[in-house]
Amino acid sequence: MAQAWLDLELGWSLLTILATTLVYRLALHAFERSGRNSLLHPLITAPLVIAGTLVLFSVDFTRYESGAQILTWMLGPATVALAIPLYHQASNIRRHGAAVILTTLLGGAIAVALAMGAAALAGADQEVIRSLASKSVTTPIALSLSELLGGIAQLAAGAVIITGVCGALCGPPLLHSMGITDNRVIGFTLGVTAHGIGTARAFTIDRQAGAYASLGMGLTGMLTAFILPLILR
């Protein structure tokens, strides 16, 4: 009996991983076919399809989540892997050290303060406000941060995705309208304010914008993770 139960659990886990990867594969395909339209980012479409499927078959979210936890667990190694593009950008950090680090610190602080302040003004709960604090940070770091800060993981995930999509969509036209044409500035801004989704958008502009976006994303994630818990705990 116990053996059969274990096998059922294993089977369920494998099924959720299989289904999640399959849906992600299709979502990525649709995203690429759309010319990388940020509104069709796999982080918007795939969760929607999976959530719909869970409702359709009346499966509890917690049951799905425990089945797919190996995928979530991979966020740990993926965070460590972020060190590698950051290392490749080391020459840019040396060249523009002060500009890069000052902008990251000021920009990160402003983004957090604006989001938390606006949520407080709009009358959100403390838990919700704390979940928004990590919104500009790349996904794996945002999750471990929101856990440390007493936020709700799923809500933090939502805030991160909304921020990324909004930043990737608004950023380039907004900066162009301000007369900014330097791709280093556009890329870096996308990386600092819109993490991975913004960085993906920057790579569609050109390699230089993408490189500066990776740099901005990596630094923002790292510095926010060190500083934010000291202020908010």
């Binding site: 999640t20 992600y24 980012h41 796999p42 982080l43 969760p47 959530a51 869970l54 989540e65 797919a68 740990g76 190694p77 993926a78 965070t79 460590v80 972020l82 060190a83 590698i84 593009p85 950051l86 290392y87 523009h96 002060a98 500009a99 000052l102 902008t103 920009g107 402003i110 983004a111 604006l114 989001a115 606006a118 709009a122 009358g123 959100a124 709960d125 919700v128 919104k135 794996p140 770091i141 471990s144 709700i152 799923q154 809500l155 995930a157 939502g158 805030a159 995705i161 909304i162 909004c166 950023g171 907004l174 301000m178 500035v185 556009i186 870096f188 819109a194 993770a225 000291l230 705990r233």
Partner: protein, 119 residues
Amino acid sequence: MKAVLNALILLFAALWLGNGLQLLILESVPGPVLGMVLMLGYLLVRGEDLPALNTVAQWLIKYLSLFFIPVSVGIWFLADDIRQQWPAILLATIPATILAQVFVALVFKTLLQYTEKRY
């Protein structure tokens, strides 16, 4: 093949040490982020990158969204009292993101111009 194994060993060693460091000393910083800093430090001291590590890292980062999907599905299953706060959440995130972009772009542009004039 062994190079890929070495890359995996490095990644997991950094993650494990980062985790330990959080438990023992720096409890306010997430363990994986400490692992990231350790890995960056290792590469900077080493002075050159490892091709196999580049490949593994590129793969992990390229499909980062996949690992984030199980949590993101939960956005649709939040408790009612949290769900009622969506208008506040959207109101906070969207304008905050746009204002932060204007700010970051202006600061970075100004600082870049300033540093480039000096050299």
